[in-house]
Symmetry: C2
Subunit: 318 residues, 2 copies
């Protein structure tokens, strides 16, 4: 019987890989460069190659490996069909079929943010929760949803696309999805800088934020120093996210909400701001839903990939 | 082997009941009065009594009945635990345990709106869909969600409470849930009248709507007659609902959205208004998600109750 699985997380810059034993222990992790040129045609052969080398190193035969669980930065349907992954230049693509052909090992695919949520629910901040929402606050805003212990992929692979939830049309700039007024346009590193520029244009007092190279980190640092403008900006950011989470809790009613991604490094102070808004507007039985920081960092996706295979085989611990 | 199931839908005025054969045929349906006095203590004995009489009429023994599937107008957890059902004066209550004791037949419970969605997905407008959202537009705004063919109950029984999703604080009246700015305060029969009063207070031209006994029906009738104020009011109502559904589609990505309840009798014209707003703000792959009217009317809940039992027994057609 197969004793190992691989978790693979395809990103725009690197592909993260992990070899797991079937009891869920991460035996080794590593990364390769994502070659996105020529419509990303090298990505799958590169993955097959690195998996092959790792199997040689660990002296594994094909029958020792139950499968590869692969996270894709795009819309992936419940059956694993990849509809599009814009950042790595893929259109509709039979990722599982192609990679299985290259490796001779069963492959399953899912949206990266959903796999990260699955990873956190398995070995991270959501351990033990059957229903959870994970928010990834980075350059953009990602979302992953677990319901009854399973990822919510939706009818067209857009389940958990929280960053593109319609929020407010008052800005006059399109989101990279083509719509105007997506949550990500306010709630993300980019969104925070947008909110800051707006605030600074309206404000009059002097602030350390009035600089060309403004970034999310600079704003959060100023917020920690209690710069008045930075506090107002972070409160506005928190209002957008807290309101959205209050809305989401009425739809999904998660047991826990997990925050990951670079912006979440602003930490507990930021969670407290978001939580205050959330509690005001959340439905009564959801007001005490805990907000927690993610625990697995960049490894959440490879853990989720491993779990996807273990679940599909009905093996491994819960 | 048991050949029958009962579907039961507990409402504030009547309890709707249906006897189904295990192939899903509705053999007989009827209603009894809901006696909500004395903390609703008579409701379960009354149900046990009417079920007993129906079994005598059809000459059924206990072993002929696989179970009773019961919809409750309140928060019900995934394990069937009833947290509260305010309209029928129930607090936390072991409905399944008590009714099972009274009847000697297995009982399963779920939130009424989720059961209605399950019924529509089984025999109604959502036939064949694995992921769907059902909106019930009545005096209030109800919501039911089916994911992977199963009801979404959530961590505290509040899954699908779309009516209490936070929307807009600009009104100064609390919702019956205690919060301010719930979607139901704008999108429901009551919400429509609120929007109309607001519009009429601001407007100047003469309209047939300026009357004491204003109701959702009067507004929709005027809308059909192209009364200018009624058109503006219905467009505002549709904006709130269309925007909310665009948001929801980014979370759940349903294959189909079903509209039931009294207000949905306004029909296809209303769906078209909502759909225009929805398409503008929905995520790209969700823009063409179909909007359809419910088919089972008041019977959706009893169908859902029957299906809940059939699913739990692993019997009956898909």
């Amino acid at each position: 019987m197969a004793k190992y699985v691989f978790g693979i997380d395809v990103g725009g810059t690197t592909v993260k890989c992990g070899l797991f034993s079937q009891n869920g222990r991460l035996e080794e992790k590593w990364e390769i460069h994502t070659r996105i040129g020529n419509e990303g045609e090298k990505i799958l052969p590169d993955i097959a190659d690195t998996i092959q080398k790792k199997m040689e190193k660990f002296d594994l035969k094909k029958e020792d490996v139950a499968g590869l669980g692969v996270g894709i930065p795009g819309d992936v349907k419940a059956n694993g069909e990849v509809m599009a992954a814009v950042n790595i230049h893929w259109g509709r693509k039979d990722v599982a079929g192609e990679l299985q052909k290259l490796t001779g090992i069963p492959v399953k695919t899912a949206k990266d943010a959903n796999l990260a949520a699955l990873g956190e629910s398995w070995k991270g901040a959501g351990k033990g929760a059957e229903h959870l929402v994970m928010i990834t606050l980075g350059t953009g805003l990602g979302g992953g949803i677990i319901i009854d212990g399973k990822m919510l992929a939706g009818g067209h692979g857009a389940g958990g696309e929280i960053g593109h939830a319609y929020t407010d049309s008052r800005i006059n700039q399109a989101c990279n999805c083509g719509n105007i007024g997506c949550l990500e346009q306010f709630v993300s590193a980019t969104g925070l800088v947008n909110l800051a520029r707006e605030e600074l244009a309206a404000g009059e007092e002097s602030t350390g934020l009035d600089r060309e190279d403004l970034s999310a980190k600079i704003i959060f640092d100023a917020y920690k120093e209690k710069d008045a403008a930075a506090v107002r900006i972070v409160k506005k950011f928190s209002m957008y996210l807290g309101n959205a989470l209050a809305f989401i809790s009425c739809i999904l009613d998660p047991e826990i909400i997990i925050f990951g991604g670079g912006v979440s490094k602003a930490g507990e102070a930021l969670l407290k701001e978001i939580s205050e808004i959330y509690r005001e507007h959340a439905y009564k039985v959801c007001k005490d839903t805990p907000f927690v920081l993610a625990k697995l960092g960049n490894d959440a996706g490879i853990y989720g990939g491993a779990k996807l295979i273990l679940d599909s085989m009905g093996i491994g611990e819960k």
